[in-house]
Amino acid sequence: MSDKGYITTAWLVLSLALLFGAALAGVEMLVADRIAANKLQETLSQVSVLVPGADEGKAYELEGQVFYQALAGGERIGWVIPAAATGFADKVEILIGVDAEVSTITGLYVLAQKETPGLGDRIREDAWRAQFKGKSTDSPIAVTKVAKPGPFEIRAVTGATISSKTVANLVNATIASVREPLQSAGE
């Protein structure tokens, strides 16, 4: 069969490919902005929780990294910093709320994690995350197993020390790397 023959016999596949390619691009156009909104919405909705008193969040681009300013009546009172690292089983994504001078942590939220259910995934619980509130960022936060942790320590989730350590180290690393640029960041 001449080479033209190959393509004509497969005309059905060609027409379907063309039709479906166009249809999908159309669907993408309709829905793309809504998906982007969803992602943004998920983070922005956390802003008011992470930085108490903030009523509105605004994205802020800095050397390729996106941060979110927590605004109260248009005036910046803090930041929400996204960060990610590999935990016990898979990636762990968190949002860290800090005040305007990046001096104390005002809140922590776990965006995505696949830690062992029942053990590692208890880092999502409010009780455990609340420990980060109010910690100053001057010295790194350590993880202990003792019942009454010190000023710069938090109690690990029983049976999931690795997941707890991952979150603590991630917070320390992010704060350290981001402190100067955010402090000097303009509007």
């Binding site: 080479d3 023959g5 393509i7 497969a10 596949v13 060609l14 490919a17 390619g21 166009a22 691009a25």
Partner: protein
Amino acid sequence: MEPITIVVVSLAAGTMLLLAVAMSFVLGWANNAFHVEVDPKIVQCNEVLPGANCGGCGYVGCNEYSEAIVLNGESVTKCPVGGASCAEGLAQIMGVEVEQTWPFKAVVHCAATFSQRLLRNTYHGEQTCAAANVISGIQGCTYGCLGFGDCVEACNFSAIFMKEGVPEVVYDPCTGCGACAEVCPRNIITMVPFKTSEMLVIACSNNDFGAEVKKVCTIGCTGCKACTKANDLFTMEGNLPVLNYDAYDPDAVDFSLALDRCKMESLVWVGVPTAEHIEATKDMEVPDKIEADFKTTVDDTEWRG
């Protein structure tokens, strides 16, 4: 629809079209270049065969069997599952006239239950016929059935069951695949062409002289040659009569003389009973239905303290 949407849609469609053209070109060329000429008859035969790849015909799958038929003239009647209709179809394709074929079914050449076997000792070894067959002294008769049910285990059409120590074949699920005949260590199960729904069978495989047989079994065939005199279909092989199934014409033959001449219970009707047999045994009281008892050897071992 701003221009950007139109352009992105056309870009997406264009990429897909490009890919489809490339792939269909490659496949079209490959389809032509790598074309392996397959004998069309093989494909036709494969269509006629049921396609269950059960291996009953002795080949790995239906495709192998159709290749064997077309390439090296294998007989068209070997498909047990397909039966007569499939054999006709194959014969048509191959232009071969098919001789009348009958479904092959399993037949057990031993009818002695545990009570009828003499010198039987309790055996605590591996509960399979294959293992028991290696050890002598389990029961008097060294030819007959050991009763540990390897054949029941092998059959995956659940067409054979143990009844008081001797296997009994249920004939409608039996597809004649021969798995039980293969696995029986004493080879007392053979495949018999079922020309009618019920066939006469020699239910004993003990080849010793009469006196020896009597010592080990109450119903075994003593090789008295009465049946060979009554009917010429029986021929003697050593001390055991053998039925010639090829010449066995169910309507013409009359086994009544051989049946009443046979003093032991070695000639047995096997298969789905015909009308007049049901009629004949109507008034006899039927033994109650045997319920499967899951008693294992452990149950009746008394506690020795």
